[in-house]
Amino acid sequence: MTGTLLVGLYVFVLAMFVGFEIITKVPPKLHTPLMSGSNAISGISIVGALLVVGAGESPAMRWIGLVALIMATVNAVGGFMVTDRMLQMFKSKDG
């Protein structure tokens, strides 16, 4: 196994642990915003899509990259916006 892959695995496993730690603290009443918000974060594949489109090595890859970019952008932009819309609804008794 190469060094990059190993480092990647280290990063992956440690990030999973961090994820478990912080997310178990989110109360059930916020689970829907948690889901749509973390869902928006998975739109990070936008970074991968940008690299594919931008490099544009062949017309086929450019199209594949474009579709990936659109989908990832919908995921990220839509996800963060709808989460914001939901969270604005949560108000305390005092307003």
Partner: protein
């Protein structure tokens, strides 16, 4: 400092913002800021990527971002809160597909260039392709089931199960072949096709009522797909973010399973919800449910100290969120302490009912969980069950042979009194009778939820 160092450090900042943002989601006060923090992290990651020297042309990037941003904005602005599960399912699918396509592009690049594929790159590409594809087709079916265009019944039989196993083995075999033996695009497209069908079979086998678990699980997959794409590109930002989402989806999946006291494999493979009402035993005639009318209900509620509403998804179906909040406001104004106890499986995705109540301006400090209410149940004067059934069924606690045995419930039967607002005495999703309806401390208010709550509120005003 070289450009690539700047990019790498910006990714690290993005990852830190994602983690801090998620951490802030643990309280309604800090949550909006947390979400925006994560959005800023995403923006930084995108900006950093644009500095990458591999990016030669920006025309297509601008097109993609504009189109995607527009679609995302319109969807986020217009979606109804009741349709959130559908929306999350679609977004999961898009995220999975985007990650999968990144893996596809890398495969095409390698196969086109005539390079050999290193084993570790091969494993990452195959994992990214498979997880992304399964997430995509599975999410589309989940969307269809939630929205009603695909049957809510579990579609499952021995033949389909065999097909799924064969396809699963085929996918693994093809991946192994591509990594170890030879880069053959035809084998690769076969793998993509098989993975698409696998995603369909996986979700279509599950009943509509169990979709919340599936959506949570697919949420986790969409994260893992992003991680896999990160391995493909050797990009730590993707690996970290994907892992965070993967962890979050897994936690929500396990919370939902625990709230139903069912294992994940039971949810995925048992075709639950296909059996038609096995309940309604022969001794139905002996049990008498005592009805109650609006005037008496209003009296009981208005002169209580502590009232707990137990809303189920039926409340949202009847569009009665605002009615219940109006009634609660009238009671609060009279000095009654009012809370809403929401079971984790109320609604169609984790936490869904809370969002619907928040939309109706219910203050979040009045929202609580079964564990907040159950220990103190004897001191609660009235519990009002609206549009919920299985989650208040005492059989889950008392009858070890019941299909819902061991499921955590809201123990309304232990309160001083209980009022169930419901059209009839019919069974819930699990298809079993509910003894709560016939208890001496329970009254049945027969009728439509919105109408009933409105009439009760009118009576409270008269007092």
């Amino acid at each position: 400092m070289s450009i690539s160092t700047v990019i790498a450090i910006t990714y690290l900042v993005s990852a830190a913002l994602f983690i801090l943002g998620l951490k802030r989601l643990s309280h309604p006060e800090t949550a909006p800021g947390g979400n925006r923090m994560a959005a800023v992290g995403m923006l930084l990651a995108v900006a950093a990527t644009l500095l990458d020297e591999k990016i030669l042309s920006f025309t297509w990037i601008v097109i993609g971002v504009l189109v995607g941003g527009l679609i995302g904005t319109v969807m986020a602005r217009t979606v109804k809160m009741t349709a959130m599960p559908e929306m999350v399912a679609v977004f999961n699918g898009f995220g999975g597909a985007a990650s999968g396509l990144v893996a596809v592009a890398e495969f095409l690049r390698i196969s086109g260039s005539g390079e050999t594929m290193a084993a570790d790159a091969g494993v990452s590409i195959m994992a990214g392709t498979i997880i992304g594809t399964v997430t995509f087709s599975g999410s589309l079916i989940a969307f269809g089931k939630l929205q009603g265009s695909v049957t809510g019944n579990p579609v499952q039989n021995a033949g389909l199960r065999l097909l799924a196993i064969a396809l699963g083995l085929g996918v693994l075999g093809a991946a192994g072949y591509l990594i170890m033996a030879e880069i053959d695009p035809r084998v690769y497209w076969g793998l993509v096709g098989a993975a698409l069908i696998l995603g369909v079979l996986f979700v279509i086998a599950i009943g509509g009522g169990d979709m919340p678990v599936v959506v949570a699980l697919l949420n986790s997959y969409s994260g893992l797909a992003a991680s896999a794409a990160g391995f493909v590109l050797g990009n730590n930002a993707l690996i970290i973010s994907g892992a965070l989402v993967g962890a979050s989806g897994l936690i929500l999946t396990s919370i939902m399973c625990r709230a139903m006291n069912r294992s994940l494999s039971n949810v995925l493979f048992s075709a639950f919800g296909s059996a038609t009402a096995a309940g309604s035993s022969a001794d139905d005639g002996d049990k008498v449910a005592t009805p109650i009318e609006a005037e008496d209900t209003a009296m009981i509620l208005a002169y209580a100290n502590q009232v707990v509403f137990v809303p189920g998804y039926g409340l949202a179906v009847a569009q009665a969120q605002h009615k219940i909040r109006e009634l609660a406001d009238l009671l609060t104004a009279r000095g009654v302490s009012v809370r809403y106890c929401v079971h984790p499986v109320a609604g169609r995705m984790p936490g869904h009912m809370n969002v619907l109540l928040a939309e109706a301006n219910v203050p979040y400090d009045q929202l609580c969980e079964p564990d907040d209410v159950n220990p103190d149940m004897e001191n609660i004067d009235v519990t009002v069950v609206v549009g919920a059934n299985d989650v208040v069924n005492p059989l889950a606690r008392d009858d070890a042979s019941s299909p819902i045995a061991g499921m955590p419930i809201i123990e309304c039967d232990r309160a001083k009194s209980c009022i169930v607002i419901k059209r009839s005495l019919s069974a819930g999703y699990a298809g079993i009778d509910n003894p709560l309806f016939y208890k001496s401390n329970n009254r049945m208010f027969f009728g439509d939820a919105a109408d009933a709550l409105g009439r009760i509120a009118e009576e409270v005003k008269e007092l």
